[in-house]
Symmetry: C2
Amino acid sequence: MRTQVSDRAAATCILMLCLVCLHVTALKSQLFTRLGALPYSPEPPVSYKTFYFDQKIDHFGFLEDGTFKQRYLLSDKYWQQPGGPILFYTGNEGDITWFCNNTGFMWEIAEELGAMLVFAEHRYYGESLPFGPDSYSDSKHLNYLTSEQALADFAVLIQNLKGSLPGAQHSPVIAVGGSYGGMLSAWFRMKYPHVVVGALASSAPIWQFTGMVPCGDFYKIVTQDFAKSGHNCDASIRKSWKAINNVSSTVSGLQWLSEEFSLCAPLKNKNDIFTFKSWLQETWVNLAMVDYPYEANFLQPLPRWPIQVVCKYLSFDSAVSDYQLLQGVSQAAKVYYNYTGSSPCLNTSQTATSSLGYLGWFYQACTEMVMPMCTDGVQDMFEPEEWNFQAFSDECYAMFGVRPRADWAGAVYGGKEISSHSNIIFSNGGLDPWASGGVTSNISHSLVSIMIPDGAHHLDLRYSNDLDPPSVRAARALEVKSFREWIKKAKKTHCAAPTH
Amino acid sequence: MRTQVSDRAAATCILMLCLVCLHVTALKSQLFTRLGALPYSPEPPVSYKTFYFDQKIDHFGFLEDGTFKQRYLLSDKYWQQPGGPILFYTGNEGDITWFCNNTGFMWEIAEELGAMLVFAEHRYYGESLPFGPDSYSDSKHLNYLTSEQALADFAVLIQNLKGSLPGAQHSPVIAVGGSYGGMLSAWFRMKYPHVVVGALASSAPIWQFTGMVPCGDFYKIVTQDFAKSGHNCDASIRKSWKAINNVSSTVSGLQWLSEEFSLCAPLKNKNDIFTFKSWLQETWVNLAMVDYPYEANFLQPLPRWPIQVVCKYLSFDSAVSDYQLLQGVSQAAKVYYNYTGSSPCLNTSQTATSSLGYLGWFYQACTEMVMPMCTDGVQDMFEPEEWNFQAFSDECYAMFGVRPRADWAGAVYGGKEISSHSNIIFSNGGLDPWASGGVTSNISHSLVSIMIPDGAHHLDLRYSNDLDPPSVRAARALEVKSFREWIKKAKKTHCAAPTH
């Protein structure tokens, strides 16, 4: 039995892109985190003030009574006080200044709505560390890193702002967030409807949990993006894994691969090949997430519609040799990693930073944010891997000393039974793999889905661009229309209420 | 400064009826707990099965991964499966068998609704002790005693029942609770609307928190109950405190008082007098809570409309002497403590049991359930006492090593801003002091208040009685009508939903 367990653990290690091997990070965790860590600059400079708010470390227990400084950024340049609305970004797993600088949508609509902007940092990320440098030291210090605590932070912060900022007392607040931040904004409206009048949850996979959507949908969307971006593009990538296995089976092949991909550290053994394939898989996923219609500077600078550019190198027919195929894959990878030509070599362990963002999201994935993923190599272009919860759990236990609870997110946030809530917009991009776990059809007249067929990961939250497709322009217009309706209704309710 | 702090602490000690002096329990805590501990027998015998469910000790953190056995009682005698409704009692601060045996309303309507009954015990009470006999040993073990954890217990339990009981998968669940259990049922619907389709919150003072209602309203209602139950009844009690002070100022007076009240332990000093007055104050409050229209056996057996009986002994004019007045008070107290004539003496420390129920509610009052109370001696019949949060906090810290958070309940449960929720009935009795913190007018078409002018504390949840006033009969009928509507709508929604 022990052997079997080990085998299963190993299998999951592949699926999870080796969560416990720090040199390659868990793919599904990675995705979110990457987003938090995008170091590109926003188009116009933004101006805000930075504040710190004393938050309870534990909202749900009274033994730990300490506080920490939660960072938040505030811009009131266009705020029409008293009573002007507040757009509140529910920060996700990264430095809040990144989200602030890169959520152009909020900056672009502040003036027309007369809105104050607030960007609140998520605990355990950026500067908002409950125990300072010790925050990640062990599972005891990590114990307060949960979405529930983060939502409570947001609620307490907003109630404090409304109580302390002159003119804010009756300001309707709207939650805005993307990706995990979008999940938070939706959940925030569900759990604290007395605090926010509505929420925009952009590219928020609130259903990417156990039993809610098929575990293979995520990678199917990635595959579809490549399939439609060039002749045989997905088929070539599907073939590439075996080609890598074939070529890497000899020492000379390993050397050839290392040189062809201009790897900083040459491949030496099976483990390196595993890492190498995980790194490539992650590259294709990232490309799917950031397949934007204009040149942008993300983790790497990229051309417009980057998958189309990548696919130019992957348009092979069935007769292609392993070496020819992998030359194409190499060229394709370099579009992502060396578009500007300034990278002397490619680093397959580059995702293995010690960034708090990464580690924090790992922990969250290992506790509440259990998102089953799988591939079959048929409906997607990846090597087949089943979802193995037990092995995943064992890896989490080895890494953090905690075990994930597969059903908790559904139990606490309602899963698919959310129809009694109101005033949430779920926007999703048709190109975005995370749409797999998103709300992509209307649930009620006030739980609305907006699809952006040509959009990748929360395109609608980005600055507008001349190359934006009409679908994202329409989405933004609809979102602002809903904001106005929520604000109007909130003001009406307030004015009608008796004073007390 | 130290003297001043001591003074303030002493002042609060009076208000709180000496939370830190275990010989007299905190009044406002006491009230709830008493309810949990009512050892009277229900009219018809009830039949249920007892089960235990493995609950996570901590739903909101992953370091503590242990489980405990949560007790719940189940009766499916009248359940129409598949899909028949489930009436779910959200247990409060006491042994669940007490609530089960004494919530006759649920037993009486089970057949007509074809409903299963479930009574879930609140963690840290009855047999549902997260750490067994150590559960109350210190603040570390008490750390998981919160309403949020209790609500999560209920949600997880229901989802498990629906997943495991054949025929229950699509059963609509309705939460029912009284007093603190009513607060839980309302909050349960607010926070877990995907789990319960509606809630009956009977005598649930969800607004008895800081800044929501005047702190003196509670004791005003107690006073009104006495004022309308006999000539000068409230005035006599208002005078009695000074009379006690006067009489007890001499050794012979102390002795007289002890004999007149047939006290088991004679009064000896100022501290005893303080305890004595607290005990009397609590007696009047308890009478107001249980001022039912029929003879009932509560903490003590009582006649119908007990305050009217009590007031017969308190109908004095202004010329009454201190001794005459206190003779009346003594007779009045004996209605409450010795109606059957079987008590050889009265015990002013009788509330100082080591019952877990008491201690648990003390802890909850010292953390989340901070309910400011005050008296002014003018609009109420008690000695004037201001609410002093700091002193209260200091006492909590001395007792449990934790400090209360005055604003948390409002922040997490919405305070008065609950209009976006739905399907909650708030029923309140006009005689019940806890109506002071209740929802006593409609908030929306589906957040409905039902007033029972002649009702004391959650009369509607009790077995029906020939002497029930029409108002409580009408209330119960309205409640059942709403239950039927919620059930009907839930079934419709379920049938209309696509299968997945």
